[in-house]
Amino acid sequence: MKKMIALLIVLSISFVSCGEDNDDNIKASAKTTFNFSHDWDGTAISTLDFENTAYTNANGEAVTMTRLRYIISDVTFTKANGDNIVIDGYKLVDVTNGDLTYNPDIEIPTGVYTNVSFTYGLKHEKNIDGAYTDLNSASFNVPLAALGGGYHYMQFDGKYSNTTVTDAPFNYHNIRAVNPGMPPVFPNQETFINVDLGPAAISNNTTFEIKMNVAEWFKTPNTWDLNTLNQVLMPNANAQKLMNENGQNVFSLGSIN
């Protein structure tokens, strides 16, 4: 019976502690969650759309998606005084398989932030060849010898059709721009992207919805011509630069809850 009472006490404590989020206590720190949602110019994309739904890109091709996965990293909370709190980590968002939620382990101090931002891809100093076992296990690597190693930022595979071709393949693979060779040479430009989501007041556990408009990869400022830029884009430093330019507008903040 004593055990029973002890058990009840433990249970009730754990129930109470579960309800903590809803009470009036001011928390010192809070968990953040990032949900990634995807659309094509406003039309929501779900796992069921892969290999099924055809979308029209800016250049007029009908595009179907086979596979879409990408990395976001270093979510950063900036205070009014300019101090940054960086969540050191990354998430491989796997849209094809519906793996869309990033739950960083660490909590951040509650308060008002003038900006929340993240890196699409990996900064150069984090893009270390072979360093991340989960990304290696997912075969997300970039070949070391000729392309400089590290990881893909995005793997976006699909097919396109127009009046001259039907279901021709494309591999819109975004990596650190590189001029291949032995050894590979990295041009000066960055091809990862800093994405600003704007200010946020965090008083409790908070979920950010981050939207990717997939159509934007083909749209602004460069109307992407799949007839010329379709496959073997990894060793094409110029194509990487164009991807980077188009990538500036693909992400936006959905909601903060």
């Binding site: 099924n52 086979t66 596979r67 296990s137 997912a138 075969s139 070391l144 000729a146 291949p180 496959q231």
Partner: protein, 358 residues
């Protein structure tokens, strides 16, 4: 009076405890089989996430020993002529050397047998060419009752195992029960299969700084890794992924129309038709013939397929290059070098490891 209530409490406690345990089969309360850690190779430890071992089937010395005995024992088949090892032979990296596998009645199935190694790192736990088996434990139940394989049924097999002179004791040691069930037999087989680890190829030793590659092999590696040349790595992995497979389902352009729907036959989704699991390219020296139906007898044929032989279809993977030209168009030198590289991933010590052979 007091004594009475004490008795009742004791009785109740007794009933409670016994009803939770496995009746009289729980023979030896104190006995625990000996835990056996998987022998994880350094390159796996450093580069990829840990293997999948179900919490309800931990690896044990006794479980693996039982699994090994079952694996090699024709007692599992209908006429007791065929063992798992008949189609999964150690000298062939645990596959067989025929295109389709011959069951006990001389009927051939429709698929090529699969080599068995590094299975604990198949993180999605989707086994068979089409992913229809959802864990090693569940997979192990299938061949016994498959009419074109061992063509037996588990009730008969359990009867034979239960009346055998050795098995009841081996099950007791492995699972602390003499009540033999097909689930326990499957658990033991799965434990043995998880120990089948292959990581001692020339290429592994090259990565560890203990072997050198010839210029031809290095060129072959480059063909494999360059998107502008062979572009094999997107599906078959790279030096940072010692599995050398993504364990994902793709249509690699074998056919324009499908007699075997592959993954599509399992999911019912036409966009999965013609997709099969990418095999590891380890141990190719021993695993001919190749592909899900064993259509290619040699690696030359495989390479020619990717170079010139691709067949277009609605589900062909967009990672296949130059489909309209038939493939990546490798020179004869590049083809030979690619083959030489592929063969550096074969591990002769895996075939003769006494822990794995009968």
């Amino acid at each position: 009076m007091k004594n009475w209530s004490l008795h009742i409490i004791c009785l109740a406690a007794f009933i409670l405890t016994t009803s939770c345990s496995d009746e009289e089969s729980q023979l030896n309360q104190g006995y625990e089989p000996t835990p056996l850690a998987l022998d994880i190779p350094p390159l796996f430890e450093q580069n990829i996430i840990p293997p999948v071992i179900p919490s309800n089937n931990p690896q044990t010395v006794e479980g693996v020993a039982l699994g090994k005995k079952l694996f090699y024992d024709p007692i599992l088949s209908g006429d007791q002529t065929q063992a798992c090892a008949s189609c999964h032979a150690p000298q062939n990296a645990f596959t067989d050397n025929t295109a389709l596998s011959d069951g006990i009645d001389g009927n051939f199935g429709t698929r090529n047998s699969m080599p068995l190694f590094n299975l604990a790192w198949n993180y999605n736990e989707r086994f068979a060419w089409d992913g229809k088996e959802l864990s090693l434990e569940r997979q192990a139940l299938e061949p016994v009752q498959n009419p074109v394989e061992m063509h037996s049924n588990w009730d008969d097999v359990i009867d034979r195992l239960s009346t055998d002179t050795e098995y009841p004791e081996l099950f007791r040691k492995a699972f602390n029960t003499t009540t033999i069930t097909k689930e326990l037999a499957a658990k033991a087989l799965a434990q043995f299969e998880r120990t089948l680890i292959s990581s001692n190829s020339k290429f592994d030793n090259y990565l560890l700084g203990q072997a050198t590659l010839t210029p031809e092999e290095l060129n072959g590696l480059d063909v494999f890794m360059q998107e502008s040349r062979g572009d094999c790595f997107h599906c078959h992995g790279n030096p940072n992924n010692p599995l050398w497979t993504d364990n994902i389902f793709h249509n690699n352009g074998l056919d324009a129309t499908f007699t075997d729907l592959g993954l599509g036959g399992v999911t019912g989704d036409p966009s999965d038709n013609g997709k099969f699991k990418s095999p590891s390219i380890r141990n190719l020296a021993y695993t001919a013939p190749y592909m899900h139906d064993g259509r290619f007898a040699t690696l030359e044929e495989v390479i020619n397929h990717y170079s010139e032989g691709l067949q277009n279809s609605s589900t062909i993977d967009p990672l296949m290059k130059k489909v309209d030209e038939g493939g990546v168009q490798l020179s004869n030198q590049d083809k030979a070098d690619l083959k030489a590289f592929l063969l550096t991933l074969s591990d002769p010590s895996f075939l003769t490891n006494p822990d794995f052979t009968n």
